[in-house]
């Protein structure tokens, strides 16, 4: 895991490696300052030598200035490399997401991917910066201050060693405790978020059933347990300060006592004693800083795991070694196809075998969960079959270059998604170099031209994020037009006219028949009217093909089809329109 993260440091490797160098320089200089201070007092003031005061003051200023320069460089390089790492991590994740197959996307969920690319990355960025700056500085500070102490007075320095040992033991115990609590806090945060999320998305249900108080008490419970947990963790963390102070003050008193003795004995000067006083803080706060680094690292560990999961995810679908880049025609074959969304899970499709001629129009009908969409998705190789094979133009879909295949097999997904930008820009996803006229022509075929022209800016109208400023039916028609611009050999419509009213739906089918006759069309629908005029109709039932024939024949031979037909037409139930 660490390897993956470190690999993404890439072009920021040198700044990252140099940071500790600057830090070292800064610390070493910083460490000398109290020593010089001691000289000011001892050799200058005590000796009544103003020149010495000025000399050592000058040295101190130079040291301080240099340490400023190095401190600045260290901060600069650390910030530069950590923001660089963050940018690289985002890009690496985004690049890999582009390689994801549909099943990979399903696995991570959109919301999950977004959090990983935002919150988790900034947590790693902060942790990396702290790591670069502090993890070297703190021990260095500690060690060099300790060395200086030994240099000044060996026996007095033993006090420091004892203090360090006590503090180190205490901090270790504290950190392990706190780290455990932090994990629990994260779970409580998740629980709280879940309540808010459910509430916000189901606010209509909440209001309709007047369950505001019920929801509030649910939330209050979650807030209370988060509060309790946080207070526990922070109170534990807060022990840090009194213990630290206890040790520091203990050291001060011990230093005062023994220091006085040594001064009287003559083995220590007053200046040196003041230096030792300032080294106490350096040594012990170094230890404290180090413990904070550990805490931050444990906190960001979860984020690191989640980021690496995305970067290291091997897409379960790859281009073949020698990909075929030409799809000869639009014929489709299923040869004993079995398919399951999860490995070893229940089959969503079982033993499907069928042949569709190039240029044929085929309807697909069946109940919810009968496998209609799954069947269509396999044609564009959005998922790989579990067993058997799917062939387009006579060749296994796995033999094609994936881009070629998806270019030739135009798929209009059930969920119609548009992107922010003008209508024209959205259409050109279908073909980047399409002229204005070609776009208009595609919209005519999809019966979208008329409503686009009614809009204030026509084809230049801006679509909001998520396409919320056009109605569901309009969105679907734009998606169809976008797919037509690909000039595909196979067109798959996955319930793509469900929100289009019946009359317009009929007109779209008519233009298809007249304007794009050679294209194989696979039309999935819940509505019998949308598919009854197709050349042939596949009736899906529980993941199996229950019938595959013309409308007339199916009415005679297929019970399921007959039932659906009767329910939806005059005798039984009809569909008025989509939602």
């Amino acid at each position: 895991m660490l390897k993956t993260l470190l690999r993404e440091v890439r072009q920021y490797k040198w700044p990252a490696l140099l940071t500790p160098v600057w830090t070292t320089a800064e610390v070493v200089l910083w460490i000398f300052i109290p020593y010089v201070t001691a000289s000011i007092i001892d050799k200058g003031i005590n000796a009544g030598d103003l020149r010495a005061v000025l000399r050592y003051g000058g040295i101190m200023l130079i040291l301080a200035f240099l340490s400023l320069v190095f401190g600045f460089l260290a901060g600069r390089f650390a910030a530069y490399s950590s923001t660089g790492l963050a940018a690289n991590l985002r890009l690496a994740m985004y690049r890999n997401i582009q390689r994801f197959s549909f099943s990979d996307i399903d696995k991570f969920s959109t919301a999950g991917l977004v959090t990983r690319m935002t919150t988790d990355v900034s947590s790693i960025q902060n942790a990396f910066q702290t790591l670069l700056r502090t993890s070297f500085r703190a021990p260095l500070n500690m060690v060099s201050a300790l060395v200086m102490c030994f240099f000044i007075h060996r026996r007095l320095s033993l006090i420091f060693l004892v203090a360090m040992l006590v503090l180190a033991i205490f901090l270790t115990v504290l950190i392990t405790r706190v780290a455990k609590l932090f994990k629990e806090i994260l779970q409580k945060v998740d629980a709280l978020n879940a309540v808010v999320q459910e509430n916000v998305s189901a606010i209509r249900v909440v209001k309709a059933f007047v369950r505001e108080h019920h929801e509030i008490s649910k939330f209050d419970r979650a807030a209370l347990s988060l509060f309790t947990m946080n207070v526990r963790a922070e109170s534990l963390m807060a022990l840090n300060h009194p213990v630290m102070n206890l040790v520091v003050n203990g050291c001060t008193i011990a230093l005062s006592w023994y220091g006085a003795h040594f001064i009287v004995e003559g083995s220590l000067t007053t200046g040196q004693l003041t230096s030792l006083f300032s080294y106490i803080m350096t040594v012990l706060s170094g230890l404290m800083m180090l413990s904070m680094v550990f805490v931050q690292l444990t906190q960001s560990y979860a984020s690191a795991v989640r980021i690496v999961e995305v970067i290291d995810e091997e897409p379960d679908m790859a281009n073949p070694d020698e990909p075929v880049t030409v799809v000869p025609d639009g014929s489709i074959d299923f040869d004993h196809v079995y398919f399951s969304y999860t490995q070893g899970g229940d089959y969503a499709l079982e033993d499907i075998s069928l042949h569709i001629d190039a240029g044929e129009t085929v309807g697909v009908i069946g109940g919810t969960g009968s496998g209609k969409s799954t069947l269509a998705a396999l044609v564009a190789r959005l998922y790989d079959v579990s067993e058997g094979s799917v062939r387009v133009g006579g060749r296994d879909v796995r033999a094609y270059d994936m881009k070629t295949l998806r270019w030739e097999v135009a798929m209009v997904l059930q969920k119609s998604t548009l992107f922010s930008g003008t209508i024209l820009e959205n259409l050109r996803w279908g073909r980047p170099d399409a002229t204005y006229e070609e776009c208009v022509e595609a919209c005519r075929q999809a019966c979208a031209d008329e409503f686009i022209r009614e809009m204030p800016d026509g084809y230049e109208t801006l679509i909001d994020q998520g396409g919320t400023n056009v109605s569901g039916g309009q969105r679907q028609r734009l998606c169809i037009a976008r797919a037509l611009l690909k000039r595909p050999k196979v067109l798959v419509l996955d319930d793509s006219t469900s929100a289009v009213d019946t009359a317009t739906d009929a007109r779209i089918r008519e233009t298809f028949a007249a304007r794009i006759p050679g294209v194989t069309r696979l039309i999935i629908s819940q509505r019998i009217l949308s598919i009854k005029d197709a050349d042939r109709i596949i009736v899906m039932d529980n993941g199996r093909v229950s019938g595959f024939d013309t409308h007339e024949n199916l009415l005679r031979t297929n019970a399921i089809y007959r039932e659906i037909y009767e329910m939806q037409t005059s005798g039984g139930e009809g569909d008025f329109d989509g939602r």
């Binding site: 340490s67 910030a79 369950r211 992107f419 939806q568 008025f576």
Partner: protein
């Protein structure tokens, strides 16, 4: 704005950051909120901080006492060093002083921990209170709010924005107080020690404060840019990852990466710029502090030596030094100088801290702004006074009313007016001349007139965006009408308390939402006091029982947050069962069976019929079976009712209904 928290020292030149601080009004509002709720604890904390400041001052002053009062006297007695062992110096007073110091320091430690401990409770408690306030307030917001705000945005108020408060409450307040206390205490003791040296210190402290705040101001520009770019990148990721399947289908991966690379680099460089400045502040400050130290050492040395007459530089300077040193009425001793140098550190550290805290408060205001924006959002208007109560036939029918209010469910409902009069709930709903638009200037419903008599089934049909769902959303006052009147058993719906109104209307919505919990919990959401058996009966009524039994744990199966393991149709069945257990007097079914396949729908038809029996029901559907036997069918088109009548009447009209139903366009 409370005058107490308004920084008054808003001088034109030094006030750039202070002005920003004033701009951060929501942060002050938050502080007021904290003080209001935690007066006592904040008081104790302030006291504790005072104690710790004094004790830490005592410990830094001790260096002087140690050197001047204990060590130097011992040194001046040559006995300890040269007169041989045995007649050593008297360490007794020193020991006593150290014990005294220890006691003072211990008091400081105790006070310090106490204040930390209390501040944790204050900080976390405020966060909890604010979260609860937010949630409570959110429950009262009109649906319009949820329509206009992305869910992710609302969520981030609870997480990101409340989290920024932890910093502000938990550390900014105590640090500011502590720093101020330290500055004042240190300042006083510095004045006592030496006035001239204090003047030098003040100049240096002012320099540091200026540097930090002006650097902070400089970085604010970059921080704004950073937030903007962060928003852009987040927006891009959100949109593109949501549409990732389309990206794949259109082989748009390379373009997507290229666009992302550009935004990503923009973000990186603005974050880098923002950090650049932030990183300078600390080293610059510590350098100024070092400079001040040297300056003080030199000036101090001049003064000390001038005073003791051992000056080797020049008598004029010595005289000046002697004069200045004498101003305090005491000579500048070596111990005083050393103590002063220590104090200097104590003085500059809080100055840096204060300026840093000011910067962080300004940054945090972005979070508190968003938080208070949600808290200040206007809540749903509810001036209703008529309430819904359970009723039973009066035992003494000869008294004016024939109903009495009872606490338990009787299946009989009544409206209770403020005067206490009861009126039986019948289910007569009437709309007259209703106009409505979600946004001003974009009307979606025009002159809607209709009356549903008790027990009738009214169906709405029409194309997308015709306004079917909107009408039902007006009856339960999810949205407020612009013009016209909606009455319910003769009461204007605006005069009925919202809670009562909605309790009387059972709704099954187009999109089903399940809550994490068991199947039984989800059904019981309809009526919280329903028994297990009542929930099961409701499930049986709507034919949800068979599939629930097939679930791994039957009715006790725990559903994941959004019912992921159930099919859309099964979720709709649960939603219908939920409405059935609620047993409301009036029902609204909005595409309640749209995802249930036609065969299952036939099975549940009987259950649905018995559910609707005797209740006024509004139905929205695009399936004929649901609509056909309605007492009245309203055909909507572009916000107007264009046809109304029974199924066969409408078919005979050969109008829009006929067109929708047959899929054939009427020629001519």
């Amino acid at each position: 704005m409370a005058p107490g928290f308004q920084p008054r020292g808003d001088r034109p030149r030094g006030g750039a950051t202070l002005k920003d601080l004033k701009g951060a009004t929501t942060v002050w509002r938050l502080f007021r909120y904290v003080f209001r709720h935690y007066k006592v604890r904040i008081g104790i904390v302030l006291l504790c901080i005072l104690v710790t400041s004094v004790t830490s001052l005592a410990s830094s002053l001790f260096t002087r006492t140690l050197i001047d009062d204990y060590i130097t006297p011992m040194l001046s007695r040559p006995t300890g060093l040269f007169a041989g062992v045995g007649a050593g110096p008297d360490y007794g007073p020193l020991a006593l002083a150290l014990v005294r110091l220890g006691a003072i320091l211990l008091a400081g430690i105790v006070a310090g921990y106490l204040s930390n401990f209390l501040m944790i409770q204050v900080g976390q408690g405020t966060m909890r209170k604010l979260r609860e306030d937010l949630f409570r307030h959110m429950q009262d917001l009109p649906l319009r709010y949820f329509d206009n705000h992305a869910h992710g945005d609302i969520m981030s108020v609870y997480t990101n924005d409340v989290d920024t408060l932890r910093q502000v409450i938990g550390s900014s307040i105590p640090n500011l107080v502590k720093s101020l206390a330290t500055i004042i205490a240190t300042f006083l003791s510095m004045v006592v020690l030496s006035l001239p040296l204090t003047l030098v210190s003040i100049v240096m402290a002012w320099l540091m404060f200026k540097t930090t705040t002006s650097l902070g101001k400089l970085s604010k520009k970059y921080f704004v840019e950073r937030q903007r770019n962060l928003g852009l990148v987040n927006g891009f990721i959100e949109e593109m990852v949501t549409g990732q399947k389309v990206v794949k289908v259109y082989c748009h991966e390379d373009e997507a990466v290229a666009a992302f690379e550009k935004l990503n680099e923009q973000l990186r460089s603005s974050v880098d710029n923002a950090n650049k400045i932030g990183n300078i502040i600390m080293p610059v400050n510590s350098n100024i502090s070092n400079f001040a130290y040297v300056l003080l050492a030199v000036v101090g040395a001049v003064l000390a030596m001038g005073a003791s007459g051992t000056l080797g530089v020049g008598s004029a300077a010595g005289w000046t030094a002697w004069y200045l040193g004498g101003l305090n009425g005491a000579m500048l001793t070596l111990g005083t100088l050393v103590s002063f140098l220590t104090l200097q550190r104590n003085f500059t550290r809080p100055v840096t801290q204060i300026s840093n805290e000011i910067n962080s408060i300004v940054m945090a205001s972005a979070g508190t702004d968003r938080l208070y924006a949600l808290l200040d959002e206007a809540i749903e208007p509810d001036a209703g006074v008529v309430t819904l109560v359970n009723a039973a036939p009066s035992p003494a029918p000869n008294v004016g009313d024939d109903l009495v209010e009872v606490p338990q469910r009787t299946g009989l409902w009544a409206w209770k007016t403020p005067s206490g009069a009861l009126k039986r709930l019948e289910g007569l709903v009437s709309l007259s001349d209703v106009d409505f638009g979600y946004v001003p200037g974009k009307q979606v419903l025009y002159d809607i007139n209709l009356t549903a008599y008790p027990g009738q089934k009214i169906a709405f049909v029409g194309g997308t965006g015709a306004g079917k769902t909107t009408i039902t959303n007006l009856i339960n006052r999810f949205y407020e009408i612009q013009d016209g009147r909606i009455t319910y058993d003769g009461f204007d719906v605006a005069s009925i308390a919202k809670e009562s109104l909605r309790r009387s209307l059972g709704m099954v919505l187009q999109e089903t939402h399940l809550f994490s919990g068991t199947v039984l919990d989800n059904i019981r959401y309809g009526r919280l006091d329903a028994t297990d058996e009542e929930c099961r009966a409701a499930a049986r009524l709507v034919c949800a029982d068979p599939f629930i039994r097939r679930l791994p744990n039957g009715y006790d199966t725990v559903l994941s947050a959004d019912g992921g393991n159930l099919s859309q149709g099964e979720r709709q069945l649960l939603a219908i069962a939920r409405a059935a257990v609620a047993d409301p007097p009036v029902l609204i079914l909005d595409e309640a069976t749209s995802s249930i396949d036609t065969r299952t729908e036939r099975l549940i038809q009987q259950g649905m019929d018995s559910l609707m029996k005797g209740r006024t029901t509004f139905v929205i559907a695009h399936r004929l079976s649901t609509v056909r036997n309605a007492d009245y069918i309203m055909v909507l088109d572009h916000g107007r009712i264009i046809e109304r009548g029974k199924h066969w009447e409408l078919l005979e009209q050969r109008g829009k209904y006929y067109e929708l139903f047959t899929g054939n366009q009427i020629v001519g």
